[in-house]
Amino acid sequence: MNKAFAEIDPVYFEYAQKYLGRFMPITREELIDLLQYCEIRKFDKRVIIVREGEIDNYLNLVVKGLVRKYLPVKKGEVTLQLATEGHVVQSEISYLTKTPSMVILETLEPTILVSLTHDKMEEALDKFPKGERLGRLILAGMFIKKDDNRYNRLLKSTRERFFEYMEHHPHMLQRVPQKYLASYLQIKPETFSRLKALFAKKKK
C-alpha cells in the first residue's frame, strides 16, 4: 500500500467506496489503486476553491465539510449546490470542456476534498482494468441526476420541493445560512421562512 494513503483516515476510504460502489462493486485493493491518482486537499471555511473565469481542473469528493457552488447573476447570485460529506462537487462544464468556469465554488466549513485532476482521471480510467466502464457509469450517473433535478424542478411546486428537501436533509438548516438554502430551492426568503414555520408545525 502506498504510504501516504496508508495514513489516510479510514472515513475517506469509506466515502470513496460508497460513492464508487454505486456504479460498480469495488474492492478495497482496487480503491487503494484508484486513490493513488487523487490528492487530498484541505481548506479553511469561506475559501474560494474555484473562481469565476478560472478553469476547474478537479473532480472533488467531499470527505469533510461543506462546499457551496453558485452562479453570479445580474442581481446577486444563485446557489446551485450544497455539497456535504460523500457528495461530488466541481464546476462540471469547466472541467469537462476545459473552459473558464461560470460558477464559483466556496467552502462554508473547514473542508477536506479527495480530488482528481482531469489528466489523472483520464490516466486512471485508461490504466485501471475496469476504469473506462467506471468512467462511463459515473458520467451516466451525473447525467441521470441532472435530468432528475430538471424533471423535479419542472414538475413540482415550491412547497413540494421545500418539504422533500427538508425531509431528506434535516441537518442542513443547522449547517447552512437560510438565504443559501432559499436560493438553492429557488424560493423567496420570505416564503422560505413561512414554509419553515409550517414544516416545524407539521413535525410536532
Binding site: L71, E92, E132, R136, K146
Partner: protein, 192 residues
C-alpha cells in the same frame, strides 16, 4: 446514409474504419410517421436513435399540461435516454413531430459492444458527456438569462426550428409562457 453518423461520432471520438463498420453493423434503419409515440410513459426504452430526417420532442405531463424538455432534429440522438440507461420505465413520452427516419441501436447490442473493448466504453462516456453538457448548459441559461434573452438566443441559433415546430412546443421547451412567447416574436419581427 452513414456519413452523418460518422461525422457526429468524429466530434466525440476517433474511430478507425473497421471500428466504425463494427458500430454501423449494429444499426437498424427505422421510420416513424408523424405524431408517433416512439416511447410512452411507463415503457422501458430499449433503443436509442440517430436522427437522419425529421424532428421529435420529448415531454412529460404536469397535471394535464405537456412539459417539453427536448427537441431533437437531424444529426441528433433521440430516445428516452434515462430509461435506456437505467432500464427503468420511462417518465417521458418520445413523440415525432414530423415523419422521422433514423438509425436505431439496441441496448443489448450497445452493451455487447461495451464489453468487447474498453474503447467503446470511452465512446459511451463521450456521448453521455455531450448529453450531460446539453442539459447543464440549458440549466445555466434558464438561470443566467432573462426570458427575452433566452428567446432571442434561441431564435438566432435555431431559425429552422421556428418554422418546423409549433410555437407552443418551443415556448414550453424554453420555459416561457405561450403569451410571452407570442409577444416576443412580434417584437422581434418589428425590430427587424
Amino acid at each position: 446514409m452513414l456519413e452523418p453518423v460518422r461525422q457526429f461520432i468524429n466530434q466525440h471520438i476517433e474511430l478507425t474504419n473497421e471500428e466504425f463498420q463494427t458500430l454501423a453493423s449494429k444499426f437498424h434503419p427505422v421510420s416513424f410517421a408523424k405524431k408517433t409515440k416512439v416511447v410512452n410513459i411507463g415503457e422501458v426504452a430499449t433503443n436509442i436513435y440517430f436522427v437522419l430526417k425529421g424532428i421529435t420532442r420529448r415531454y412529460f405531463y404536469r397535471g394535464r399540461q405537456e412539459v417539453i424538455t427536448h427537441l431533437v432534429r437531424e444529426n441528433g440522438i433521440m430516445g428516452s435516454v434515462i430509461s435506456f440507461l437505467t432500464g427503468e420505465p420511462s417518465r417521458y413520452i418520445l413523440e415525432t413531430i414530423e415523419p422521422v427516419s433514423a438509425l436505431a441501436i439496441s441496448k443489448k447490442d450497445l452493451e455487447e459492444l461495451f464489453l468487447s473493448d474498453k474503447k467503446w466504453e470511452k465512446f459511451g462516456r463521450k456521448i453521455i458527456t455531450s448529453f450531460f453538457l446539453q442539459i447543464e448548459y440549458h440549466n445555466m441559461d434558464v438561470i443566467r438569462y432573462s426570458t427575452k434573452e433566452r428567446f432571442v438566443n434561441f431564435m438566432k441559433q435555431n431559425p429552422d426550428l421556428v418554422l418546423r415546430v409549433p410555437q407552443k412546443y418551443l415556448a414550453s421547451y424554453l420555459e416561457i409562457q405561450p403569451e410571452t412567447f407570442s409577444r416576443l416574436k412580434h417584437l422581434m419581427v418589428k425590430e427587424k
